[in-house]
Amino acid sequence: MNDAQSLPGPLVGLRILELANETGQFCGKLLGDLGADVVKIEPPGGEPNRNVGPFLDDVPHPERSLSFWYYNTSKRGITLNLETADGRRLFRQLAAASDVILETFRPGSLASLGLDYESLRPQNPGLIMCALTPFGQTGPWRDYLSSDLLHMAAGGAMASSGYDEADVPNAPPIAPGGGNAWHTGGHFACMAIMAALVHRTVAGQGQYIDASIHEACALTTEAAVANYIYRGEVLRRQTGRHHAANPTPRTQFRAKDGTYVCALVAGRLTPKYIGELADLLDINGMAGDLRDFKYQDPAVIATNTSHIIDDLVANFIASLPAEEVYHAAQQRGFTWAAVRAPEQLLEDPHLHDRSFWKEVEHPELGRSFVYPGAPAIYNESPWQISRRAPLIGEHNTEIFCGELGLSRSELCVLAESRVI
């Protein structure tokens, strides 16, 4: 492998303008970490989502939002008020020299400012513009308000996630946390932008992309839609495992340390598997009757499934810490895992072997912080964080003066009139 870390990312040389709130900033981060020069355009004073916590040391401040920090790595930042004529003029100049615009305004907003794709394209036929919005640019829900929770509900995540009645009676459907509606929209939008960019390398032309977070979420529930379309089934929620038309054996077991292990056993119980399972459970002397010759008969296994899972496997896992079960099982070829809290990942040696964590400098604070890095290792053009999130207007001088040729005094005037 080359010393890939010193090489530029696969999107090197691309200029992307990001006009994105909490719904689209992750897509911009993906493109920036992949090597594009992403210029984030914020309103004067900064994006409202700079005020979303948690904050560094619990001190609320627009430059201390850890959420903003995370979702805006590898970007430069400028401020620009598109409600002003000067702001629009400067934006058009930037758009003329950019490859991609990513925007998350409400449908019709940019058109009302004269900054929609049709207005910008004539001066830059290669321009790709992606509008990433909750519901897309058309349709009866086009102007609906949303949030992460709302998308998890309407997209179908909640209908599939929750609890067995025995674990939590009358439980509501549960929306998995972490802001994954925005992630899911961002993944699909990134894919669409990349496809347009590849097309442009051949055809030379740009295009407009209308991406919908609701649709992206509705596509992201594995076989739920196929279960309905092909069999008319509506699936039930189950604790820590797949939705199902009919109840399935549990796969989540409490370990000795009070945390859980995900152990997929049901559906795999062959005589051969029973032998391997006995070896695993025996590391703590917990194989019970698994070595009994009777388990050579698949019919006996079938009638003892509950005994094997709910007694033997459950008791074995209850006898050891979750991490120990996880590694012992995986080393023996079992596809099991500890249910870890994210912070436990900091101690995972496998991630260190992959140089996953990234120490990101925050020079204004004189400190650096450890960030999660990239999903994949590219051997020629690394996917990696190149810089911390921009401060408000941090690159105004660099871009407005350095690139667009404004003088320092013009910049001052624009700041006074709240254009930047």
């Binding site: 696969p10 999107l11 909490e22 948690p54 560094l56 040391d57 959420s67 995370y70 992606c130 519901f135 058309t138 349709g139 308000l145 949030s147 929770l149 709302l150 998308h151 509900a153 179908g156 209908a159 674990d167 509501p172 549960i174 929306a175 998995p176 669409a192 496809a195 097309h199 390398t201 295009q207 649709e215 509705a218 596509l219 529930t221 076989a223 739920a224 379309i229 092909y230 069999r231 509506v234 699936l235 929620r237 797949h242 989540q252 859980y260 995986q330 596809t335 500890a338 809290a341 994210p342 990942l345 496998h350 072997d353 996953f356 999660p372 999903p375 994949a376 290792i377 051997n379 053009s381």
Partner: protein, 441 residues
Amino acid sequence: MPRPRALENIRVVDFSWVRAGPWATRWLGALGAEIIKIEWPENERGRLPSTTTPQHLEVNLNTSGNFNDTNVNKKSLSLNVRTSKGLEIVKRLIAISDIVIENFSSRVLQNWGLGYQELCKVKSDIVYVSMSGYGHTGRHHHYTTFGPVAQAASGLTYLSGLPDKPPAGWGWSYMDDTGGMYGAMCALTGLYYRNMTGQGQHIDLSQMVSGVPLNGPVLLDFTANGRGSRRAGYPPGNRAHWPGTPLVNNYRGPTVAPHNAYRTHPGEYNDWCVIVCHSDEEWQRLVQVMGAPSWAASAQFAAGVGRLQHQQELDEQIEAWSMTLGKYELTERCQAAGVRALPVQSAEDRVEHDPQLRHREMYLDMEHPALGRHKVQNAPFKLSETPAVNRLPSPLIGQHTQEIVEELLGYSHEELRVGFADGTFWPTKRARLPYMEEMLR
């Protein structure tokens, strides 16, 4: 005239199986690439076992509904790559392809003699995307995953649930769907880089690792503030904060109330609506939608912190009202007034009742030779010049073997016959399917 396609003239050799890999190539296919799925019926995973075969059909290699939706826009070449002849044929295919993608465990392709170095000898600028559970690099590269295992190990499962209860997790393989997205992004970025520089590469994607960055703010709260997520009140179910626990942001947006799921009329399994108010102003709009009940005028609910402190009572009162309305009616009333609300939607709801998805043509009919006519899921984005469209139903196993072997690779018809006879294109002991007999005429 047919519209141009974004990935016109791009050919993908697709060894992937089950869900994550096929979900990646499904989208590359919708974007116009030619996807050639290499399959072998003796160790096939994805077509079988099937829990999505229509009740009136026999379960076999060609009748999985979920396989169909996961594998539209592809062709199938049945080929035993574990023989030297099969390997030779697949190398000939790779030599005229752009991308190789697979989601086996970490050493499988290398053991077949198709590691990255070997691939480069066959096609010097190949883009090779491996999508293994833990990646090809790192001490646990040999560990294996399914979606739920990747979700558990990466921290995603833990983020879902009620406080003091076991994790609820994700009711499906979120990291198979999302892993597929990363597979497609890796392939496309690799392809872009190749088109710009002429240089291919190996992209070592890991399903487990790609789940970790989805916990970004949780991890930064730990690395910067030292606060872990194993704490009282976390995860807070559907709420932004669990009453009676320390008031800390829960990594899903602002800490506000109401922010919950509420039962709706008539109270069946999926009769729920979620309602969120991001500000006092939005709360006041909700109060109006509810008909300005006297309880809502109470001072304890007037401002955000009070609503968070008295969330239990607030949620009970809202639910008493929401139970009087159907979830779609409640949604319309709230949204018309500028209140954030949407229904919990099952798959049936999305396919049959969601007016937005219907308007956007999310589910369109497509004919499949074994399954018949069914709705297939469409792309969640509309590209103005090169729309992503489903052009082909999922292939029957080996359906395109003749087309690929003879027309694309230039083998003779006699060589195809010999290959079927010697077990290269179909196991000799397995009955050939009718369309294979057709090919051999």
